[in-house]
Symmetry: C2
Amino acid sequence: MSTVTIIGAGMMGSAMAVPAADNGHQVRLIGTPLDRDIVASVQRNGFHPTLRRTLPGSVTAGQFEELVPALAGADLIICGVSSFGVDWFAAEVLPHLSPGGTVLSITKGLAEGAGGSLTAFPDHFAAQLPAAIRETIRFAAVGGPCISFELADRRHTLVNFCGRNADALEHARELLATGYYHVRCSTDVVGVEVCAALKNAYAMGVSLAVGLADREAGGLDSEAAAALCVPGAPDRNPIYNPQAALFAQSCLEMSRIVALLGGNAALAGLLPGAGDLYVTIFGGRTRRLGTLLGRGIAFEEARRLLRGVTLEAVAIITRTARAIRLRAERGEADPAAFPLLMHMDAVLNRHAAPDPPWEKFGL
Amino acid sequence: MSTVTIIGAGMMGSAMAVPAADNGHQVRLIGTPLDRDIVASVQRNGFHPTLRRTLPGSVTAGQFEELVPALAGADLIICGVSSFGVDWFAAEVLPHLSPGGTVLSITKGLAEGAGGSLTAFPDHFAAQLPAAIRETIRFAAVGGPCISFELADRRHTLVNFCGRNADALEHARELLATGYYHVRCSTDVVGVEVCAALKNAYAMGVSLAVGLADREAGGLDSEAAAALCVPGAPDRNPIYNPQAALFAQSCLEMSRIVALLGGNAALAGLLPGAGDLYVTIFGGRTRRLGTLLGRGIAFEEARRLLRGVTLEAVAIITRTARAIRLRAERGEADPAAFPLLMHMDAVLNRHAAPDPPWEKFGL
């Protein structure tokens, strides 16, 4: 039996407790200061209120004040915060790590630096470690298609663990892989993690077509235009040619961004890119944003309607578009190679009407 | 004004009449002997009974006996038969072609030859031309995501025209591209056409997960298990992690088959592969077959339930699996690199229960 400590009691972090517990490990689930109510509920009767599932009995939950003892002796530490909690994790958790540990991050996103630099979180975290332990902590991250509810329900799920240390990846895989949680390891951190971040951006792009079809069909009053879609619900207007064109363009642009940042572009058309994009379009919350925008709802209003929903797409679109423009100033990137990304950025940040530039798409 | 002659009045062939007519061309739609009722209906009042749309007024329909005059003076000939009509097209139409013509095929599939050879239809047709005109006819084909209904409704659609002669591709593109029918040209016939054929195979694979989720949820009596799904209908059990894993594995195996046959493997993760797979899963008929199989319906029974539906997936799975086994005997392919294809073949042809080999998936 090993000990797995999860920091962040949101849906995805908490869902990781299920395969860990099923493998017989002791699981310590530590909430951030935003997770107080969740932790209190799990402590009371095991029920996770946003995941809407009861966690296995071997999971013990603790508030953030219990962080330091929860880290002691952990064989694996899982960073389960959202991309908006990355700085918090770096400031509040990294200083308490002991030498020799392995940290597996489920956070999807890219850290923005000067001059258009974009850094995957495993590398971003490593750079912020205290010098005394920097060389001893091994960072890894999870990419690939995984909806938290479905992992908690033990549905077959295929993911990538990526990191620069192959031994650390195998260590994490041995602790977490089960008969339903299938893990493949990759040392291409940029390839896997850039796709993991960008799929949120492009899922919004594909979903624009869902909302545009609703608008073209007519009959959308303001209430219907503002109605939130839910995963698995019937499409009001099931039209797939435009979605498929946007899906393919998304894979193309993801492959170009991965190449630009130094990863294997082919991953954009495989599990980390196309696979994760697929699940995010159909099971993720980003679809709601893209659908609302496509129906003609302005971003500010869409954000209000989606209050409480973590909109990682907005951050990743904005910062990736900005990074490409900055690199273009140095002749290191061509914004024309990313017409869908630039269009999404204009819709979110410059009040452009959603109207995909079809003629600019394709090879 | 040019003349476009379409041979085959099925849904996809007939839908091609819409952009051709919108570009101001004279369109001649010639049915095969299977299309007599369709042609009679279009002749009567323009209504296409299976496409369920009225064709533009500049489309003139004719029975097969009118083939020879309809070919005369055509600037572009579109082969609109299904993959089961390829031999018919070769025998009945090719001999009547005049030197210097361009043929654009919308037929998706691969011709099977000795020793595991699989040939894209443009090359297959070219090889069967009378020697006197073989060098003068230019063959091209359409790949990429396009549901016929949506093209007929003028939805934004992005496709690839592929062929060995770039001038012929540009000629066809100029005749057919519109503000909604977006065309990119590629001389990678193998890359585009192998994906176009395989997407039918792998759409069945992804759809297995739809049916498996229904079965796992329980409560499926024989009537519910045999109920056909329709595009856009709500999923009984919207579960996406397994679908996404199968989608990504599909892209991986398509890329390997494209590489094996000499095309650009990257296309499997772009418009011809991932994009066309996406639309086939959601808008195509293959999803019905995969869903029924996943629910536990045997193939023979599923075929009976789907009578009247063209099941191109079955042919392409069977012949591609056979080709890989034949090549394996010569050490030219490894069936272990295609675990999903081999599983689908076993389900269709050897009564295997649908149970995807998850542990064999991924890089």
